[in-house]
Structure formats: structure tokens, C-alpha cells
Symmetry: C2
Subunit: 345 residues, 2 copies
């Protein structure tokens, strides 16, 4: 069973995967470039017809009304077969001398975004992208009823360098029995900004970036997409809602549609501008019990994985970014989206 | 000139390298596996005879008394030819509307550890490893006289995956005009531990790990080497001095010798156990103006780069470690050091 451990100095939690422990000879760092992501439909656990290769689904969109765990779905959510945390682990603190630990209670699910193995977010039709967002919301709303979970992180890994081992388009969701340190840190930072300036930091950023325009990539009625002023990595982008709202699951129907549109557009721009880069995207939403915290403002962060964090970054937390965000925004704005890749939307 | 920018929410600084800005077509992420590190002596800027390929040296150990910037050195420190921060940049805050910024004032040096391109820390003789530590100390003592610098981070990148682009053995040093966020965070954590328990967290860890033994890799009169209880990555290790001391530059001569010995031994164990893994090591030492802070306890952190941090890690700060530290310590303790690789020591 996985175990949660807290660093005595930094107070940061780590997940120790005690069950699927890897031995020294199982890392093969010298042959990493040879590791093949699952590209073959017959062995892909997320392809239609292979439903038995995953744990039973917890949600599926089946317009034709087909039976669970059979083909016919347009989107499918299943428990992760190799979960970081799981519902069978114990919940709550344990004694560990000078250290802090707790059981690896939590949830880890996979959102299989589309039946077609070859689709990317920017090639899907608009409805499919909207459906991904609805599925994230549906699972969030269901899981938050478990009062042992304090936060739900939804994220997407694209490309091997970004940690994806399966090519088939999918997102993931991890519910934790504590508030992750980075979310907590953002919540504190947002609070300090309010204390100091009496306004929301994110609302200020939205206004400033719309007015300034230098770092603006795109905008619609409900969202702005920017290269953040203090971008950690080249071509980092943030999608921020114009409406002050702490929890992504409180989006209106119109906002979901607007997010799908700006997200698909951004993914197309990144792919065209940077030759389909590896990236991670992460939903920064308030802790479940802080959904109505007046200081937080949810947002989506997209980090292309074009450079390597080395000793300086790992030791200090200071990133060296070799592409100023103003230039990144310029390139992404000027990118021509190949219309043949834009899908039906 | 590089520019420092602060994130308005997390209050974390980033370095924006405005001069050597990389364009979209300069990342070549699809051909990363083909990137060759500088292995050829004739093109290696750190090999003897190629001294003119680096900026003029700021320190060199020349037992034969040879002329500066000529062969004959056993160790050489030069300014980084592509510095993250530099002394020509302005120092101090600037106005940037709702954002915070300052000039990229700072220092970035390279410690060329050995004249022989092929040596590794575990193959050098003991004196050479001691000399590396003395050189780090010499540069620290010299640089701390600049009262615009508030911290000096010394680190080492080994292997391409860990960010090294040159194979020749070298460490680096970056002096910043602010205290890096992670050092600040550790200082705060150490303070909170003292406030709560009235003892030093690191002293407690040293005592506990020596008594428990499960996570102990090695120890000598002055240092312990452990796999930390809350290791973020497989085979993470920390070397912690037994004596409570905030600043690595305050080591005694005997402590320097003991550190060289335990560090060389650990690097040999990692290389033998994990087939010469890529890694970063970082010196966590107190901020310059906090050298005598009674709460901090300097230490050395070694992070092998065997796994990839993906969206979950980047979004939450929570690492999923697939090798429990107790198992990592066991493997590293049991590793047989190939005597033919142990050099003269």
C-alpha cells in the first residue's frame, strides 16, 4: 500500500509507492530514448475493444446507450491500474518517531478523452473537447462527497519527456487527503496579495495583461490566455477565467464552451509553433473545503517540456528561462494554425 | 542583460535570459536524444591547452607554479561563458506596474574539477576531491565580500538528463542578489521545527538515522550519508554534518577531508549500483547574512535523475517515489565498489 511521508524541514508530502518498488536494475536510464510509448491499438488499454484491459469504468459518455465496459463510448473514465494513491489504503496519521506519515488513501483516475488513439486535443471536434471538461467536472463533483479528500488535481501529460507512457489521448485526476503544497502556497500567496492590495492577484493580472497586450496570446468573452510575466520555462502559458471564481467546477455552461475553445486553440498553436512539443497541463483549483475562499481564482497552467531543470533549479527553485514570455507570446500569436488540423469546429 | 522577475502569487523569482533568447525552432525536442555532450578533448573548453576557450580564470591550483590561463593546473575556476546572472547587470528593484523585477546582477562560475576529461568524482584520488571542496570554499569566501550577493548555490550536473552539456568534470556556483525560495523555505522550516521542539531538525535526523540504521548508507567521524525519510526521487541521498553548523564554508580541515571521503564513496556506490546514473548535487548552505543563524544546518543533497516529474508533480509539488528510501539505502550499502575504479585513495 502506498504511504504518505512528510519532510521534517520543508513540510512537503511525498508519496512512497511501497508496492511497485523499483530495483536499481529496473531504471535503465541509458536506454530511456528507446522506451516506446504504447502506440499499437491492439495493446493500448484505452482503445475501444480493449475495455477489459482497464479496471471497470466509473463514468462513460455513451450516446448510443451501449453497455458499460463495452465499445460505443465517446469518453470513458477508469481507475488508474497503477494508482499513486488508492481507496483501499488506510486514512489518517500514524506514528513514525520524529517523522510524520499517513496512509496512502486517495483516488487516481484516468479520463480517456476520445475513442480514437490518434486524436490530439487540437484535432478533436469542439464537442469532444467540451466533453473532456464536463467529465473532469462530473468526477470532481462526485469525488468531493468523500470528506477524506481535500483536493483534486486534474492534469495531462503529453509526450514521453512529459511523463506520458501511453499515446492515446487521456487526462488524469488524483484526489489527495491533504492540500498539496503548491496549491497551499498559491492560496497563501493569493491571500497575502489581497491583504496587501485589497484586490485579487489573478483579476489584476487579467486586467493588466489585456491592457498591456505584450504577453497576451488570445482571449474570448470568458478567458484570457497569456505567457505569464514570471514564466518558469519557455512557452509557459496560463489560461485564466475573467470571472473571479475559486473552483473550476463552478464554471457555467457558457464558460465551459469558451474554455474548450481557447484551450483547443492554444494546443493547436503550441503544436504548430513548436512541432508538437511534450507538455504538462494542470488545473489549479481551490481545495475542496476552500471552494468558496474569496481569495483564490482558479486557472490552468500549461508547461511545455523543452528544457531540462538542472542542479541550480533543483537546489534553489529558481528557473532560468531562455525565452522571454513576451517573445513566446509573440510567436504563439503569429502562428498559423493549419486549417486541416483544426477538426470540425 | 538577464532580468529577475517575481511571480505575483507564489512570490518566486525566475531568471529571464533576455540575451541568448531561444526561438521556437531552436529547441529541437524531437532530436534531444541525439544531442551529444562535448566529449572530444580538442573541442572541450575545460581541457588543458584550451584555456583560451573560457573567460580568464578567477582561481587555479597550480602546484608547479605555472602561469595563469596556461596548462599546469590541477583545478581551475572560470566565469561561466553563458552566465545566468552577471556582474555587468544592474542591481536593485525596478518598476514594472503590478509586477516585481530587478536587474540580473549576480555571479556564475564554473569549477573545472580536474585536468583529465575522463575522471569522475569516484575515480579521482582523494586529494583531488578535497581540492574541489577547498575551491568551493575559497570562491565562497571571496564572493561573500560583495554585499549585493545574499546567497551562493554550489551545484553539479552529471549526465545529459541532469542538464550537463559538457562531460569534463565540473561544478558550478551561482551567487544571487536575493535568497532563493527553496533555501528560504528550508530556513523557515528549520526555524519552525526549533520553535516547536526546541532542537535542530537536522541534528534530530542525524541522531535518529544513526540509531535506526534503516536509511543509513554510510557514516564517518564527521558526516552521515542517508536516504532521506521523505525522499522525493529514487535513490535520493543527503550528506549531513554531525556538527551543527549553518555554513559549509565553516568546515574544519578535518571535516573537509571527511566530506571528501564520504562523498567520493557515495558517488562510487551510485555509479556501481545504478550504472553511472545522471544526477544533480546541491549544497544547501545558509544565506550569506544568515551564516550564523542558529537554526540552519548545512547539508548536501544528491538527486539521481532516474524518473520523470510529470503533471502531478509539477502541479502539486508532490513527488511519487517508486523506490522506498529504506530499499535504496539497502542497495547502496550492499553495493560492491569496484576496487579498480577507486583511484589512489
Amino acid at each position: 500500500m502506498p504511504e504518505l511521508r512528510k519532510d521534517p524541514i520543508t513540510r512537503e508530502w511525498v508519496i512512497i509507492a511501497t508496492e511497485r518498488a523499483r530495483r536499481p536494475d529496473q531504471f535503465n536510464h541509458k536506454r530511456q530514448a528507446e522506451i516506446v510509448v504504447t502506440k499499437d491499438h491492439s495493446t493500448c488499454p484505452f482503445c475501444p475493444g480493449n475495455e477489459a484491459m482497464t479496471p471497470p469504468e466509473v463514468l462513460a459518455y455513451r450516446p448510443g446507450g451501449t453497455a458499460p465496459n463495452q465499445p460505443g463510448w465517446t469518453l470513458r473514465v477508469v481507475p488508474n491500474a497503477f494508482p499513486a494513491l488508492n481507496l483501499e489504503s488506510s486514512w489518517g496519521r500514524r506514528d513514525a518517531g520524529i517523522y510524520d506519515t499517513m496512509g496512502g488513501y486517495g483516488v487516481h483516475e484516468v479520463i480517456v478523452e476520445h475513442p480514437d488513439h490518434q486524436q490530439e486535443m487540437w484535432t478533436m471536434d469542439d464537442q469532444a473537447v467540451e466533453d473532456i471538461l464536463w467529465a473532469c467536472r462530473d468526477r470532481y463533483v462526485d469525488l468531493k462527497r468523500d470528506d477524506r479528500l481535500l483536493h483534486i488535481m486534474i492534469f495531462r501529460n503529453h509526450g514521453r519527456v512529459a511523463g506520458a507512457s501511453i499515446q492515446h489521448p487521456h487526462s488524469q485526476l488524483v484526489g489527495t487527503p491533504f492540500v498539496p503544497q503548491m496549491i497551499w502556497h498559491e492560496l497563501q500567496g493569493a491571500q497575502q496579495y489581497v491583504d496587501y492590495r485589497d484586490t485579487c492577484a489573478f483579476c489584476d493580472v487579467v486586467q493588466d495583461e489585456l491592457r498591456n497586450g505584450e504577453r497576451l496570446i488570445s482571449a474570448n468573452d470568458h478567458f484570457v490566455c497569456v505567457a505569464p510575466y514570471a514564466s518558469k520555462v519557455p512557452f509557459e502559458t496560463s489560461i485564466i477565467p475573467k470571472r473571479h471564481n475559486g473552483c473550476f467546477a463552478n464554471m457555467t455552461r457558457e464558460e465551459v464552451r469558451a474554455l474548450a475553445s481557447i484551450l483547443k486553440d492554444l494546443k493547436g498553436r503550441l503544436a504548430a509553433c513548436l512541432d508538437d512539443p511534450p507538455y504538462n497541463h494542470t488545473f489549479h483549483t481551490a481545495p475542496i473545503r476552500e471552494e468558496n475562499n474569496p481569495h483564490f481564482h482558479w486557472h490552468l497552467s500549461i508547461l511545455p517540456r523543452l528544457t531540462i531543470a538542472a542542479g541550480f533549479e533543483l537546489g534553489t527553485g529558481i528557473y532560468i528561462n531562455v525565452t522571454p514570455p513576451e517573445e513566446a507570446a509573440h510567436y504563439l500569436r503569429e502562428t498559423t494554425l493549419p486549417s486541416d488540423k483544426r477538426g470540425a469546429g
